[in-house]
Symmetry: C2
Subunit: 215 residues, 2 copies
DNA sequence: ATGTGTGAATCGGTTCACAGCC
DNA sequence: GGCTGTGAACCGATTCACACAT
Protein backbone atom coordinates (compact mmCIF):
# COMPACT_ATOMS: atom_id res chain seq x y z
CA UNK A 1 0.00 0.00 0.00
CA UNK A 2 1.17 3.51 -0.88
CA UNK A 3 -0.22 4.90 2.38
CA UNK A 4 2.09 3.05 4.75
CA UNK A 5 4.95 5.54 4.31
CA UNK A 6 2.55 8.36 5.12
CA UNK A 7 1.49 6.68 8.33
CA UNK A 8 5.14 6.08 9.11
CA UNK A 9 5.95 9.75 8.81
CA UNK A 10 3.05 10.70 11.05
CA UNK A 11 4.12 8.17 13.63
CA UNK A 12 7.66 9.52 13.65
CA UNK A 13 6.28 12.99 14.37
CA UNK A 14 4.17 11.61 17.18
CA UNK A 15 7.09 9.70 18.64
CA UNK A 16 9.11 12.93 18.67
CA UNK A 17 6.26 14.55 20.57
CA UNK A 18 6.58 11.83 23.22
CA UNK A 19 3.15 10.49 22.34
CA UNK A 20 3.09 6.89 23.48
CA UNK A 21 -0.23 5.71 22.09
CA UNK A 22 -2.43 6.78 19.18
CA UNK A 23 -5.94 6.01 17.97
CA UNK A 24 -6.89 5.23 14.39
CA UNK A 25 -9.00 8.39 14.48
CA UNK A 26 -6.05 10.63 15.34
CA UNK A 27 -3.67 8.93 12.93
CA UNK A 28 -6.26 9.26 10.19
CA UNK A 29 -6.50 12.99 10.84
CA UNK A 30 -2.72 13.40 10.62
CA UNK A 31 -2.47 11.30 7.47
CA UNK A 32 -5.39 12.97 5.73
CA UNK A 33 -7.49 9.83 5.36
CA UNK A 34 -10.38 8.35 7.31
CA UNK A 35 -10.22 6.14 10.38
CA UNK A 36 -11.66 2.99 8.83
CA UNK A 37 -8.97 3.05 6.17
CA UNK A 38 -6.25 3.35 8.78
CA UNK A 39 -7.58 0.37 10.72
CA UNK A 40 -7.95 -1.76 7.61
CA UNK A 41 -4.46 -0.83 6.40
CA UNK A 42 -2.82 -1.52 9.74
CA UNK A 43 -4.67 -4.80 10.12
CA UNK A 44 -2.77 -6.08 7.09
CA UNK A 45 0.43 -5.76 9.08
CA UNK A 46 -1.08 -7.79 11.90
CA UNK A 47 -3.16 -7.05 14.98
CA UNK A 48 -0.88 -4.54 16.61
CA UNK A 49 -3.58 -2.38 18.20
CA UNK A 50 -5.24 -2.70 21.60
CA UNK A 51 -9.04 -2.46 21.64
CA UNK A 52 -10.28 0.39 23.77
CA UNK A 53 -6.82 1.98 23.77
CA UNK A 54 -5.27 2.41 20.33
CA UNK A 55 -1.88 1.62 18.85
CA UNK A 56 1.44 1.79 20.67
CA UNK A 57 3.41 4.33 18.66
CA UNK A 58 6.88 2.85 19.19
CA UNK A 59 5.83 -0.71 18.51
CA UNK A 60 3.84 0.19 15.42
CA UNK A 61 6.76 2.29 14.21
CA UNK A 62 9.09 -0.66 14.54
CA UNK A 63 6.75 -3.08 12.78
CA UNK A 64 6.15 -0.65 9.96
CA UNK A 65 9.80 0.19 9.42
CA UNK A 66 10.52 -3.50 9.23
CA UNK A 67 7.70 -4.18 6.79
CA UNK A 68 8.74 -1.23 4.61
CA UNK A 69 12.36 -2.34 4.62
CA UNK A 70 13.54 0.88 6.20
CA UNK A 71 15.76 -0.74 8.80
CA UNK A 72 18.53 -0.61 6.24
CA UNK A 73 19.87 1.88 3.67
CA UNK A 74 19.03 1.46 0.00
CA UNK A 75 21.78 2.93 -2.18
CA UNK A 76 20.56 4.90 -5.18
CA UNK A 77 22.11 5.53 -8.60
CA UNK A 78 20.98 8.50 -10.68
CA UNK A 79 21.13 7.99 -14.44
CA UNK A 80 21.21 11.15 -16.52
CA UNK A 81 23.20 14.14 -15.28
CA UNK A 82 21.30 16.89 -17.06
CA UNK A 83 19.39 19.64 -15.30
CA UNK A 84 17.07 17.31 -13.47
CA UNK A 85 19.73 14.74 -12.62
CA UNK A 86 22.02 17.38 -11.12
CA UNK A 87 19.09 18.88 -9.27
CA UNK A 88 18.22 15.54 -7.72
CA UNK A 89 21.86 14.81 -6.93
CA UNK A 90 22.25 18.11 -5.08
CA UNK A 91 18.98 17.68 -3.25
CA UNK A 92 20.00 16.25 0.10
CA UNK A 93 16.59 14.86 1.00
CA UNK A 94 17.33 11.33 -0.21
CA UNK A 95 20.34 10.46 1.90
CA UNK A 96 18.63 11.78 5.03
CA UNK A 97 15.86 9.25 4.66
CA UNK A 98 17.91 6.16 4.08
CA UNK A 99 18.46 6.45 0.33
CA UNK A 100 22.06 7.61 -0.18
CA UNK A 101 22.95 8.61 -3.73
CA UNK A 102 26.08 6.54 -4.41
CA UNK A 103 26.53 6.96 -8.15
CA UNK A 104 25.88 9.35 -11.02
CA UNK A 105 25.73 7.82 -14.45
CA UNK A 106 25.52 9.28 -17.95
CA UNK A 107 25.95 8.16 -21.53
CA UNK A 108 27.67 11.37 -22.67
CA UNK A 109 31.47 10.83 -22.63
CA UNK A 110 32.05 14.57 -22.10
CA UNK A 111 30.16 14.37 -18.80
CA UNK A 112 31.93 11.26 -17.55
CA UNK A 113 34.52 12.16 -14.95
CA UNK A 114 33.03 15.55 -14.06
CA UNK A 115 32.39 16.01 -10.36
CA UNK A 116 29.09 16.92 -8.73
CA UNK A 117 29.41 17.26 -4.99
CA UNK A 118 31.32 14.22 -3.73
CA UNK A 119 30.57 12.06 -6.75
CA UNK A 120 32.07 11.96 -10.20
CA UNK A 121 30.02 10.86 -13.18
CA UNK A 122 30.57 7.35 -14.51
CA UNK A 123 29.68 5.92 -17.90
CA UNK A 124 26.48 3.96 -18.29
CA UNK A 125 28.35 1.04 -19.85
CA UNK A 126 29.85 0.44 -16.40
CA UNK A 127 26.43 0.01 -14.84
CA UNK A 128 26.84 -3.71 -14.05
CA UNK A 129 30.12 -2.98 -12.23
CA UNK A 130 28.69 0.06 -10.45
CA UNK A 131 25.66 -1.90 -9.31
CA UNK A 132 27.78 -4.70 -7.92
CA UNK A 133 30.48 -2.58 -6.28
CA UNK A 134 28.16 -0.09 -4.62
CA UNK A 135 25.25 -2.45 -3.93
CA UNK A 136 22.87 -0.16 -5.76
CA UNK A 137 19.29 -1.25 -5.26
CA UNK A 138 17.35 1.66 -6.73
CA UNK A 139 17.89 3.42 -10.06
CA UNK A 140 16.56 6.89 -10.80
CA UNK A 141 16.02 7.73 -14.47
CA UNK A 142 16.54 11.45 -15.14
CA UNK A 143 17.31 11.29 -18.85
CA UNK A 144 15.40 12.68 -21.83
CA UNK A 145 12.28 10.69 -22.69
CA UNK A 146 13.81 8.93 -25.69
CA UNK A 147 16.55 7.31 -23.62
CA UNK A 148 14.32 6.22 -20.74
CA UNK A 149 13.35 2.75 -21.98
CA UNK A 150 16.92 1.87 -22.87
CA UNK A 151 18.15 3.00 -19.48
CA UNK A 152 15.45 0.98 -17.76
CA UNK A 153 16.54 -2.11 -19.70
CA UNK A 154 20.16 -1.51 -18.73
CA UNK A 155 19.26 -1.04 -15.08
CA UNK A 156 17.34 -4.29 -14.97
CA UNK A 157 20.13 -6.08 -16.83
CA UNK A 158 22.55 -4.78 -14.20
CA UNK A 159 20.38 -6.25 -11.49
CA UNK A 160 18.76 -2.99 -10.38
CA UNK A 161 15.10 -3.92 -10.27
CA UNK A 162 13.63 -0.94 -8.43
CA UNK A 163 13.26 2.04 -10.73
CA UNK A 164 11.97 5.57 -10.26
CA UNK A 165 11.36 7.24 -13.61
CA UNK A 166 11.38 11.04 -13.93
CA UNK A 167 11.47 11.03 -17.72
CA UNK A 168 8.19 11.96 -19.41
CA UNK A 169 7.87 8.61 -21.14
CA UNK A 170 5.89 5.43 -20.64
CA UNK A 171 8.33 2.62 -20.07
CA UNK A 172 7.85 -1.02 -19.19
CA UNK A 173 9.90 -3.43 -17.17
CA UNK A 174 9.77 -7.19 -16.69
CA UNK A 175 7.45 -8.42 -13.93
CA UNK A 176 10.31 -9.09 -11.49
CA UNK A 177 11.10 -5.36 -11.44
CA UNK A 178 9.18 -2.49 -9.78
CA UNK A 179 8.58 0.81 -11.49
CA UNK A 180 7.26 4.11 -10.15
CA UNK A 181 7.11 7.34 -12.05
CA UNK A 182 7.18 11.02 -11.16
CA UNK A 183 6.18 13.32 -13.96
CA UNK A 184 6.54 16.97 -12.96
CA UNK A 185 5.12 18.47 -16.12
CA UNK A 186 2.15 16.15 -15.85
CA UNK A 187 1.34 17.39 -12.36
CA UNK A 188 1.41 20.97 -13.58
CA UNK A 189 -0.80 20.09 -16.54
CA UNK A 190 -3.34 18.52 -14.22
CA UNK A 191 -3.34 21.71 -12.16
CA UNK A 192 -3.75 23.89 -15.23
CA UNK A 193 -6.63 21.67 -16.28
CA UNK A 194 -8.54 22.30 -13.07
CA UNK A 195 -7.63 25.99 -13.13
CA UNK A 196 -8.99 26.12 -16.65
CA UNK A 197 -12.18 24.38 -15.49
CA UNK A 198 -12.65 26.93 -12.74
CA UNK A 199 -12.22 29.76 -15.23
CA UNK A 200 -14.59 28.44 -17.86
CA UNK A 201 -17.70 26.37 -17.21
CA UNK A 202 -17.15 23.03 -15.47
CA UNK A 203 -17.45 20.01 -17.77
CA UNK A 204 -15.62 17.20 -16.00
CA UNK A 205 -15.73 15.78 -12.43
CA UNK A 206 -13.72 17.43 -9.64
CA UNK A 207 -10.22 16.45 -8.52
CA UNK A 208 -9.93 13.49 -6.23
CA UNK A 209 -7.53 11.90 -3.78
CA UNK A 210 -4.88 14.54 -3.32
CA UNK A 211 -7.06 17.51 -2.47
CA UNK A 212 -8.90 16.93 0.79
CA UNK A 213 -11.23 19.73 1.78
CA UNK A 214 -10.07 21.74 4.76
CA UNK A 215 -11.58 20.14 7.88
CA UNK B 1 -8.58 12.87 -15.53
CA UNK B 2 -4.86 12.38 -14.84
CA UNK B 3 -4.41 10.43 -18.07
CA UNK B 4 -5.24 13.22 -20.48
CA UNK B 5 -1.76 14.77 -20.31
CA UNK B 6 -0.27 11.37 -21.10
CA UNK B 7 -2.44 11.05 -24.19
CA UNK B 8 -1.49 14.57 -25.13
CA UNK B 9 2.21 13.74 -25.02
CA UNK B 10 1.68 10.63 -27.14
CA UNK B 11 -0.31 12.62 -29.67
CA UNK B 12 2.43 15.24 -29.94
CA UNK B 13 4.91 12.48 -30.74
CA UNK B 14 2.59 11.08 -33.37
CA UNK B 15 2.03 14.49 -34.90
CA UNK B 16 5.80 14.92 -35.18
CA UNK B 17 5.95 11.60 -36.99
CA UNK B 18 3.45 12.98 -39.52
CA UNK B 19 0.84 10.47 -38.40
CA UNK B 20 -2.51 11.92 -39.37
CA UNK B 21 -4.90 9.48 -37.75
CA UNK B 22 -4.70 7.12 -34.78
CA UNK B 23 -6.82 4.32 -33.36
CA UNK B 24 -7.70 3.90 -29.70
CA UNK B 25 -5.76 0.65 -29.81
CA UNK B 26 -2.54 2.33 -30.95
CA UNK B 27 -2.89 5.27 -28.59
CA UNK B 28 -3.53 2.85 -25.72
CA UNK B 29 -0.31 1.03 -26.54
CA UNK B 30 1.68 4.28 -26.54
CA UNK B 31 0.10 5.51 -23.31
CA UNK B 32 0.47 2.19 -21.51
CA UNK B 33 -3.24 1.64 -20.87
CA UNK B 34 -5.93 -0.40 -22.58
CA UNK B 35 -8.03 0.61 -25.53
CA UNK B 36 -11.40 0.70 -23.77
CA UNK B 37 -10.02 3.18 -21.26
CA UNK B 38 -8.76 5.44 -24.04
CA UNK B 39 -12.13 5.45 -25.74
CA UNK B 40 -14.00 6.12 -22.52
CA UNK B 41 -11.60 8.89 -21.56
CA UNK B 42 -11.75 10.58 -24.95
CA UNK B 43 -15.52 10.30 -25.07
CA UNK B 44 -15.67 12.66 -22.08
CA UNK B 45 -14.15 15.36 -24.28
CA UNK B 46 -16.82 14.79 -26.90
CA UNK B 47 -17.23 12.51 -29.90
CA UNK B 48 -14.09 13.45 -31.74
CA UNK B 49 -13.39 10.04 -33.30
CA UNK B 50 -14.58 8.60 -36.57
CA UNK B 51 -15.98 5.06 -36.44
CA UNK B 52 -14.09 2.66 -38.61
CA UNK B 53 -11.17 5.08 -38.89
CA UNK B 54 -9.93 6.40 -35.56
CA UNK B 55 -9.10 9.84 -34.24
CA UNK B 56 -7.64 12.70 -36.25
CA UNK B 57 -4.39 13.46 -34.48
CA UNK B 58 -4.30 17.20 -35.13
CA UNK B 59 -7.92 17.80 -34.25
CA UNK B 60 -7.74 15.71 -31.08
CA UNK B 61 -4.53 17.49 -30.14
CA UNK B 62 -6.23 20.84 -30.49
CA UNK B 63 -9.29 19.82 -28.50
CA UNK B 64 -7.19 18.33 -25.75
CA UNK B 65 -4.85 21.30 -25.46
CA UNK B 66 -7.86 23.53 -25.16
CA UNK B 67 -9.51 21.33 -22.53
CA UNK B 68 -6.28 21.09 -20.55
CA UNK B 69 -5.75 24.84 -20.71
CA UNK B 70 -2.44 24.47 -22.51
CA UNK B 71 -3.13 27.09 -25.15
CA UNK B 72 -1.68 29.63 -22.75
CA UNK B 73 1.27 29.86 -20.35
CA UNK B 74 0.74 29.40 -16.62
CA UNK B 75 3.37 31.33 -14.65
CA UNK B 76 4.78 29.48 -11.65
CA UNK B 77 6.19 30.73 -8.35
CA UNK B 78 8.49 28.50 -6.31
CA UNK B 79 8.29 28.97 -2.55
CA UNK B 80 11.29 27.75 -0.58
CA UNK B 81 14.76 28.24 -2.03
CA UNK B 82 16.54 25.40 -0.25
CA UNK B 83 18.11 22.45 -2.00
CA UNK B 84 14.92 21.29 -3.63
CA UNK B 85 13.68 24.76 -4.53
CA UNK B 86 16.97 25.64 -6.23
CA UNK B 87 16.98 22.30 -7.98
CA UNK B 88 13.50 22.90 -9.35
CA UNK B 89 14.37 26.48 -10.31
CA UNK B 90 17.41 25.35 -12.28
CA UNK B 91 15.53 22.51 -13.93
CA UNK B 92 14.48 23.93 -17.28
CA UNK B 93 11.72 21.44 -17.95
CA UNK B 94 8.93 23.65 -16.65
CA UNK B 95 9.32 26.66 -18.90
CA UNK B 96 9.61 24.45 -21.98
CA UNK B 97 6.18 23.03 -21.38
CA UNK B 98 4.30 26.24 -20.79
CA UNK B 99 4.99 26.72 -17.10
CA UNK B 100 7.61 29.51 -16.82
CA UNK B 101 9.07 30.01 -13.36
CA UNK B 102 8.57 33.73 -12.78
CA UNK B 103 9.33 34.09 -9.07
CA UNK B 104 11.37 32.57 -6.26
CA UNK B 105 10.10 33.21 -2.77
CA UNK B 106 11.51 32.49 0.69
CA UNK B 107 10.86 33.47 4.28
CA UNK B 108 14.55 33.70 5.21
CA UNK B 109 15.68 37.36 5.00
CA UNK B 110 19.27 36.27 4.32
CA UNK B 111 18.12 34.55 1.13
CA UNK B 112 16.00 37.43 -0.11
CA UNK B 113 17.78 39.30 -2.88
CA UNK B 114 20.16 36.49 -3.79
CA UNK B 115 20.10 35.60 -7.46
CA UNK B 116 19.44 32.17 -8.97
CA UNK B 117 19.68 32.21 -12.72
CA UNK B 118 17.69 35.18 -13.97
CA UNK B 119 15.57 35.52 -10.85
CA UNK B 120 16.31 37.02 -7.48
CA UNK B 121 14.61 35.74 -4.37
CA UNK B 122 11.74 37.78 -2.94
CA UNK B 123 10.22 37.70 0.52
CA UNK B 124 7.13 35.66 1.15
CA UNK B 125 5.34 38.64 2.69
CA UNK B 126 5.28 40.14 -0.82
CA UNK B 127 3.35 37.17 -2.16
CA UNK B 128 0.13 39.12 -2.85
CA UNK B 129 2.09 41.71 -4.87
CA UNK B 130 4.13 39.06 -6.66
CA UNK B 131 1.03 37.13 -7.58
CA UNK B 132 -0.68 40.20 -8.98
CA UNK B 133 2.31 41.68 -10.83
CA UNK B 134 3.48 38.46 -12.45
CA UNK B 135 0.08 36.82 -12.91
CA UNK B 136 1.22 33.74 -11.03
CA UNK B 137 -1.32 30.96 -11.31
CA UNK B 138 0.57 28.01 -9.84
CA UNK B 139 2.56 27.85 -6.60
CA UNK B 140 5.16 25.19 -5.90
CA UNK B 141 5.88 24.47 -2.24
CA UNK B 142 9.50 23.37 -1.72
CA UNK B 143 9.87 24.25 1.94
CA UNK B 144 10.47 22.02 4.96
CA UNK B 145 7.39 20.09 6.05
CA UNK B 146 6.60 22.30 9.03
CA UNK B 147 6.20 25.40 6.86
CA UNK B 148 4.11 23.77 4.16
CA UNK B 149 0.63 24.41 5.55
CA UNK B 150 1.40 28.04 6.29
CA UNK B 151 2.78 28.56 2.80
CA UNK B 152 -0.30 26.94 1.30
CA UNK B 153 -2.51 29.29 3.29
CA UNK B 154 -0.51 32.30 2.10
CA UNK B 155 -0.63 31.15 -1.51
CA UNK B 156 -4.39 30.80 -1.42
CA UNK B 157 -4.72 34.14 0.35
CA UNK B 158 -2.65 35.70 -2.43
CA UNK B 159 -5.06 34.27 -4.98
CA UNK B 160 -2.84 31.39 -6.12
CA UNK B 161 -5.23 28.48 -5.99
CA UNK B 162 -3.27 25.82 -7.85
CA UNK B 163 -0.62 24.29 -5.64
CA UNK B 164 1.98 21.60 -6.16
CA UNK B 165 3.42 20.43 -2.85
CA UNK B 166 6.87 18.85 -2.66
CA UNK B 167 7.10 19.04 1.12
CA UNK B 168 6.63 15.73 2.94
CA UNK B 169 3.54 16.93 4.79
CA UNK B 170 -0.20 16.48 4.50
CA UNK B 171 -1.72 19.88 3.91
CA UNK B 172 -5.25 20.97 3.20
CA UNK B 173 -6.66 23.80 1.14
CA UNK B 174 -10.13 25.26 0.79
CA UNK B 175 -12.38 23.61 -1.81
CA UNK B 176 -11.90 26.39 -4.35
CA UNK B 177 -8.19 25.51 -4.58
CA UNK B 178 -6.49 22.51 -6.21
CA UNK B 179 -3.68 20.61 -4.59
CA UNK B 180 -1.35 17.97 -5.96
CA UNK B 181 1.60 16.50 -4.17
CA UNK B 182 4.91 14.96 -5.20
CA UNK B 183 6.70 13.14 -2.43
CA UNK B 184 10.08 11.88 -3.58
CA UNK B 185 11.00 10.06 -0.39
CA UNK B 186 7.63 8.36 -0.41
CA UNK B 187 8.22 6.99 -3.89
CA UNK B 188 11.55 5.56 -2.80
CA UNK B 189 9.98 4.04 0.30
CA UNK B 190 7.36 2.32 -1.82
CA UNK B 191 10.13 0.89 -3.99
CA UNK B 192 12.09 -0.29 -0.97
CA UNK B 193 8.93 -1.91 0.32
CA UNK B 194 8.50 -4.03 -2.79
CA UNK B 195 12.22 -4.77 -2.92
CA UNK B 196 11.96 -5.94 0.67
CA UNK B 197 8.99 -8.13 -0.25
CA UNK B 198 10.95 -9.73 -3.07
CA UNK B 199 13.81 -10.47 -0.70
CA UNK B 200 11.75 -11.96 2.11
CA UNK B 201 8.54 -13.94 1.69
CA UNK B 202 5.66 -12.07 0.03
CA UNK B 203 2.95 -10.98 2.46
CA UNK B 204 1.07 -8.18 0.70
CA UNK B 205 -0.45 -7.81 -2.79
CA UNK B 206 1.73 -6.78 -5.75
CA UNK B 207 2.23 -3.23 -7.04
CA UNK B 208 -0.44 -1.80 -9.27
CA UNK B 209 -0.95 0.97 -11.76
CA UNK B 210 2.52 2.25 -12.48
CA UNK B 211 4.27 -1.01 -13.35
CA UNK B 212 2.78 -2.53 -16.49
CA UNK B 213 4.27 -5.86 -17.49
CA UNK B 214 6.39 -5.72 -20.63
CA UNK B 215 4.16 -6.50 -23.57
C1' DA C 1 -16.83 3.22 27.96
C1' DT C 2 -13.67 3.22 24.36
C1' DG C 3 -11.55 1.95 20.15
C1' DT C 4 -9.95 -2.10 17.40
C1' DG C 5 -10.77 -5.73 13.87
C1' DT C 6 -13.60 -7.21 10.26
C1' DG C 7 -17.66 -8.97 7.56
C1' DA C 8 -21.09 -6.68 4.68
C1' DA C 9 -22.65 -2.91 1.80
C1' DT C 10 -21.24 0.62 -1.22
C1' DC C 11 -18.88 3.18 -4.53
C1' DG C 12 -15.95 4.53 -8.45
C1' DG C 13 -13.33 3.06 -11.94
C1' DT C 14 -12.07 -0.51 -15.25
C1' DT C 15 -13.15 -3.87 -18.57
C1' DC C 16 -16.28 -6.33 -21.61
C1' DA C 17 -18.94 -6.70 -25.48
C1' DC C 18 -21.68 -5.16 -28.91
C1' DA C 19 -24.72 -1.89 -31.46
C1' DG C 20 -24.01 1.77 -34.64
C1' DC C 21 -21.52 4.39 -38.00
C1' DC C 22 -17.94 5.08 -41.51
C1' DG D 1 -14.47 -4.76 -42.35
C1' DG D 2 -12.90 -1.86 -38.90
C1' DC D 3 -13.24 1.14 -35.09
C1' DT D 4 -15.78 4.21 -32.09
C1' DG D 5 -19.13 5.13 -28.36
C1' DT D 6 -21.42 3.30 -24.49
C1' DG D 7 -24.55 0.47 -21.53
C1' DA D 8 -23.75 -3.51 -18.59
C1' DA D 9 -20.92 -6.58 -15.89
C1' DC D 10 -17.07 -6.70 -13.06
C1' DC D 11 -13.67 -5.81 -9.61
C1' DG D 12 -10.94 -3.74 -6.17
C1' DA D 13 -10.96 -0.30 -2.78
C1' DT D 14 -13.44 2.45 0.46
C1' DT D 15 -16.77 2.99 3.92
C1' DC D 16 -20.15 1.40 7.22
C1' DA D 17 -21.48 -0.64 11.30
C1' DC D 18 -21.07 -3.58 14.95
C1' DA D 19 -19.28 -7.56 17.66
C1' DC D 20 -15.62 -8.03 20.73
C1' DA D 21 -11.61 -7.15 23.57
C1' DT D 22 -9.68 -4.26 27.30
Amino acid sequence: MARLPVYLRCLVEQANDKTTTISSERLAELAGVNAAKVRKDLSYLGSYGTRGVGYDVEYLLFQMSRELGLTQDWPVAIVGVGNLGQALANYGGFGDRGFPVVALVDADPSKVGTAHGKLSVRHIDDLPDIARELHVSIGIIATPAVAAQDVADRLVAAGITSILNFAPAIISVPPEASLRKVDLALELQILSFYQQQRAGGPHLPEPSGTAPARS
